[in-house]
């Protein structure tokens, strides 16, 4: 992360948790890992204050710490990822409210402010109606992002208290959140940096000598895999090895039953606490869905699972993209696919090691996938989807039937544009012609060369092979529309003799396409369409000489230069000099332009961070301008009765400031969408 990202994190912490914490956080950001005495020296704060600040920061998961086992010194480090996540609080609450319910949104809001919390405490707080005091205490300390949520929760207070007459719904809701992985139990590794986690994992995992392997290299490889597994276990809180062992013991029959009954039992083990490393629990106590009663150990400590939220935000983004590029109805089907796949996707980033070991093409079972039948069941009503595709679904390409919607449109075109009249006469012949020769293309277009099993199912005439089911056919068509899109929203796995027809999302490829699309969109709106054209050419053709670029882009040299130079200046494209001889004479040098998407992505990301930091600064400054009024308005006796206590001028200034603040934070959230797309997806 860069200076601007640090600046942004610092501002966010400052805005949310106040000055003391932000000061310590800033020092840690700019100096890296520090021990307590060093930290005290750098912050010029008293020992007591630093301790206090650190305690708060650890509680909020904003810093990482690690006590080395050989010198017993504790080192602290800023957790920039979580600090950045502060900006997403609002989105998290919204997502949780949409997925589980409004009440869950409030719990997430509280968890966000608290960092992590014991189940018992959470239940107590809501049961006894203590939410008011918790909220007020936090809101007093908090800045803007906490303000709206504390406000809203205050309005809802009465209802919450009513809801909480019994403890049952709270447990139920927490179980739901756990099941959806929106919250996860806290593990000690969550407080350590990646490198420290690796050191710890290396301690736990047996030495290479223990492994039975032919040579040292294999031993090392096995150990490496063991370490990776351990790290993953800690991270996602699973107990992989145990799972595998259990499955083996159970034998195939039980395994089969397990698959049929769904994932319930697996889930249970997923959250089984890991020995003594789990903070607050000692034995297996969490059983999310057993029977009717929801029960959670009161000592289990929960935190917000950022990784899962990123997945959900990505899903929203993808659906939105499908809506924009294809159609609303198709996007709705896509949303269902993504929703059905949610339990299988824990993290946006797929570890590259995995993909190299098991080739995605060879073993598609490794990626999340779903069968057509499951989807058809998930989508209850397809009546809305009827008439949303440009062809009635009676199979084969029927030109005479096709002509009707088309002809109507052709007439429209004529009316709008005089220039097209001439061609209309020749249309029908042409279509008939193309109709006949394109029938042959059908099979080779649909079959992916990588798919061995042929593809009887891309058969344009599904009626011959499948029983007539309009509901299913409609959904299938929409899914196929998604697969042919250049973004490759969806990957189609045709029916084989063993497995039914399935659908899969190749997330790495899809996100690569989405990021590329976003970058080009940015370039287009900043530098204009020809700039985007030039960038795309550079991407397609690789490093290109100016002359070639000029003739391929069909732009005059002067025009082209006027776009290339700003692009170069903005760091979107690069220029390479290749001297033709040793003299390095500029006249005897080839200048090659190139576009490096990764470089461009980092550059745009940096700019976004910087922009966000600028917005926050400006927001702070605007607040300072009318500091007195804002302070007065947030006094406990004034809140709610602003009209009584504030003069008309003050009121006006306050309202103007609130508008402005809303605007700024709205824009910051839009910028965060971009960051999410470029960084997290």
């Amino acid at each position: 992360m860069s200076r601007h990202a640090y600046e942004l994190c610092h501002l966010l912490v400052d805005d949310t948790y106040g000055e003391l914490t932000s000061r310590i956080f800033e020092v840690l950001l700019f100096h890296g890992r520090l021990s307590l005495p060093a930290l005290q020296h750098q912050t010029h704060l008293s020992y007591r204050l630093v301790k206090h600040g650190l305690a708060v920061l650890i509680q909020q998961h904003l810093i990482l710490w690690y006590t080395s086992s050989h010198d017993h010194q504790t080192l602290y480090e800023a957790n920039t990822a979580n600090a950045y996540s502060l900006v997403r609080s609002g989105k998290y609450i919204k997502v949780a409210a949409a997925q589980v319910g409004e009440f869950a949104g409030k719990v997430i809001a509280n968890l966000l402010l608290l960092g992590h919390a014991r189940v018992g405490d959470l239940v107590q707080a809501y049961k006894a109606g203590q939410s008011r005091s918790t909220h007020d205490r936090l809101a007093a300390n908090g800045g803007t992002p906490s303000t709206p949520l504390s406000n809203s929760s205050r309005h809802e207070e009465g209802r919450i208290e009513e809801q909480n007459a019994t403890v049952e719904p709270i447990y139920g809701m927490l179980c739901d959140l756990l099941r959806l992985e929106l919250v996860s139990p806290v593990h000690i590794s969550h407080f350590r940096s990646d490198a420290d986690n690796r050191i710890e994992a290396e301690k736990v995992v047996p030495k290479p000598e223990v492994y039975k392997a032919r040579n040292e290299r294999e031993q090392n490889a096995q150990r490496e895999a063991g370490i990776k597994r351990k790290l993953k276990e800690w991270r996602y809180y699973t107990h992989g090895e145990e799972n595998e062992a259990e499955h083996l013991k159970k034998g195939k029959k039980r395994l089969h039953q397990d698959l049929e009954t769904g994932r319930l039992e697996k889930r249970q083990r997923l959250y089984s606490p890991l020995s003594q490393d789990v903070i607050g629990t000692t034995e297996e106590v969490y059983q999310p869905m057993r029977g009717e009663a929801h029960y959670l150990d009161n000592d289990l400590i929960l935190r917000v699972n950022h990784a899962k939220f990123a997945v959900l935000i990505r899903n929203d983004h993808l659906v939105d993209l499908a809506d924009r590029t294809i159609s609303t109805s198709t996007a709705r089907v896509y949303a269902q696919v993504l929703h059905a796949l949610e339990p299988q996707v824990q993290d946006c980033r797929v570890e590259p090691a995995n993909s190299s070991e098991t080739d995605a093409e060879a073993d598609p079972s490794s990626s999340p996938q779903i069968s057509t039948d499951e989807l058809v069941r998930a989508i209850k009503d397809s009546s809305e989807l009827a008439n949303t595709l440009g062809k009635s679904d009676d199979g084969r390409l029927d030109m005479t039937q096709f002509d009707h919607p088309k002809k109507r449109r052709k007439k429209e075109v004529i009316n709008e544009d005089q220039g097209t009249i001439d061609i209309e006469a020749s249309f029908d012949e042409e279509e008939d012609l193309s109709g006949s020769d394109e029938e042959d293309n059908v099979s080779d277009v649909s079959s992916d060369p990588n798919e061995v099993n042929g593809d009887a199912d891309f058969d344009p005439n599904p009626l011959t092979s499948l029983p007539h089911d309009p509901h299913r056919d409609t959904i299938r068509s929409h899914l196929l529309v998604l697969t042919i899109h250049p973004f490759s929203f969806l990957h189609h796995l045709p029916k084989t003799s063993i497995l039914p027809e399935r659908w899969m999302i190749d997330f790495p490829l899809l996100t690569k396409n989405v990021i590329h699309h976003t970058l080009l969109e940015t370039i287009t709106s900043r530098h204009g369409l020809p700039a985007a054209r030039l960038t795309r050419i550079l991407f397609d053709k690789g490093r290109t000489d100016e002359k070639v670029l000029c003739s391929t882009s069909l732009l005059a040299q002067k025009t082209m230069r006027s776009y290339l130079l700003p692009l170069h200046k903005a760091g979107m494209i690069g220029l390479q000099e290749v001297p033709r001889d040793n003299s390095r004479n500029p006249q005897r040098t080839n200048f090659l332009w190139f576009f490096d998407p990764e470089r461009c992505r980092v550059k745009v990301l940096e700019e976004t961070y910087k922009t966000m930091a600028r917005y926050l600064k400006r927001a702070k400054m605007e607040g300072e301008k009318i500091k007195g009024t804002v302070e007065k308005a947030s006094r406990s006796d004034v809140v709610g009765k602003e009209e009584e206590f504030l003069g008309p001028q003050e009121l006006e200034a306050l309202n103007a400031w609130r508008e402005m603040d809303k605007r700024i934070w709205g824009e910051v959230s839009r910028l965060d969408d971009l960051v999410a797309c470029l960084r997290d997806f």
């Binding site: 052709k410 097209t420 042409e430 293309n441 369409l529 605007r663």
Partner: protein, 361 residues
């Protein structure tokens, strides 16, 4: 004529390897003129070989020596042009008027002219011309200039090397390599032409790649009876919704995946040639270039493994819907001094004018 002489000697010698040297040119002028007249009666550009000339029965006794003497003299006068085909000599008739013109040329001019003529439709670069003729710069320039003044040659612009001075015969049309194909006019890219062609192509593809559900107002529009005011209004409305955006709408729906009507390269080419939009017939390679440009503009996309084209539903850019993201719509994303913006620096968030403007909005 001198220009022919260096070339003439070589094949001529091949021809008379077996012959003795002709004993002087003593043939009557009439015979020569008759031969010329006979040949000139054929269509222009016809190439005569030895046997054809004998077939005219003008040369007495079909003597090879005499024929050689006549043709040589005619070539000297510039009325015949000696050429070789498959190692044998053959001749072409030159018009009398042209011959007079050539005869009026100085030696250098004739030399320069012969090379320029040899380059035919490709043209010859002045530098190469100089090295081939082995003339001095000023001499050659003088020759070129006088030839230009006589309207015998012209300077052309080669698209690939617009800075090179290139010449070709005045009566010739430059080849496509030189002009750069239909997208260039006088060696300069015709941006308006490219723009219009791409507009048309794009609209053609849009119409074939999305389903536009019929709208009630559209059906009303298509009724043929329309008062002049209505028509003018319609036109004005269309002009308001500038350019590309007008045929794209949110109401466009995707085609069924089994739909095979997405246009291919050859279909688009056929359609544009049938449209009469351009006087030039477009080749598939040229249309491919245009379609590529549209893809690079993000207006079309290739589907079916690049075989067919489909329009992109929403397009970013001047003419389409503005698709902004957080960065590009904020003042910082377009700030010219963003790089310098720093806390405590001359440009900072506190005193930023652009922010002020944005917040007031």
């Amino acid at each position: 004529m001198d220009i022919a002489s260096p070339a003439e000697e070589v094949p001529a010698k091949d021809e008379d390897v077996t012959m003795t040297e002709p004993s002087g040119v003593s043939s009557p002028k009439e015979l020569r003129n008759a031969l010329y007249a006979r040949c000139a009666s054929f269509e222009e550009g016809h190439v005569f070989n030895q046997d054809e000339l004998f077939a005219f029965d003008i040369i007495p006794d079909n003597s090879l020596e005499q024929l050689l003497a006549y043709t040589r003299q005619l070539a000297k006068d510039g009325l015949f042009k000696l050429m070789t085909k498959d190692g044998k000599a053959c001749w072409k008739v030159v018009k009398r008027a042209d011959a007079i013109k050539y005869r009026s040329l100085s030696q250098e001019e004739a030399l320069v002219f012969s090379y320029i003529e040899g380059a035919a439709r490709e043209g010859i670069w002045s530098k190469i011309l100089r090295s081939k003729t082995n003339l001095h710069m000023t001499t050659m320039n003088r020759a070129v200039k006088s030839l230009e003044n006589k309207n015998m040659i012209k300077a052309v612009k080669i698209v690939k090397y617009p800075n090179r001075k290139t010449y070709m015969l005045a009566k010739l049309q430059p080849s496509e390599n030189v002009t750069g194909g239909p997208f260039y006019t006088d060696g300069v890219l015709d941006e308006e032409f490219v723009h219009q062609m791409s507009l048309w192509t794009e609209r053609y593809v849009i119409g074939r790649s999305w389903w536009h559900p019929p709208l009630p107002e559209h059906t009303r529009k298509s009724s043929s009876k329309m008062t002049q005011e209505q028509a003018e209004e319609l036109r004005a409305a269309e002009l308001r919704q500038r350019g590309h955006g007008r045929d794209r709408s949110k109401a466009m729906l995707p085609m069924h995946p089994g739909y095979r009507g997405h246009p291919t390269l050859s279909e688009v080419t056929r359609a544009i040639n049938g449209s009469g939009l351009s006087g030039v017939t477009m080749k598939e390679s040229e249309m491919g270039q245009l379609l590529d440009i549209l893809c690079w503009d993000g207006r079309l996309e290739k589907i079916r493994h690049g075989k067919a084209y489909r329009a992109v539903k929403q397009v970013n850019g001047e003419d389409g819907v503005e698709l902004e993201n957080g960065l590009t719509e904020s003042p910082c994303g377009r700030c010219p001094v963003f790089e310098f913006c720093e806390e405590g620096g001359p440009v900072n968030a506190r005193s930023c004018e652009y922010f002020q403007e944005w917040l007031q909005f």
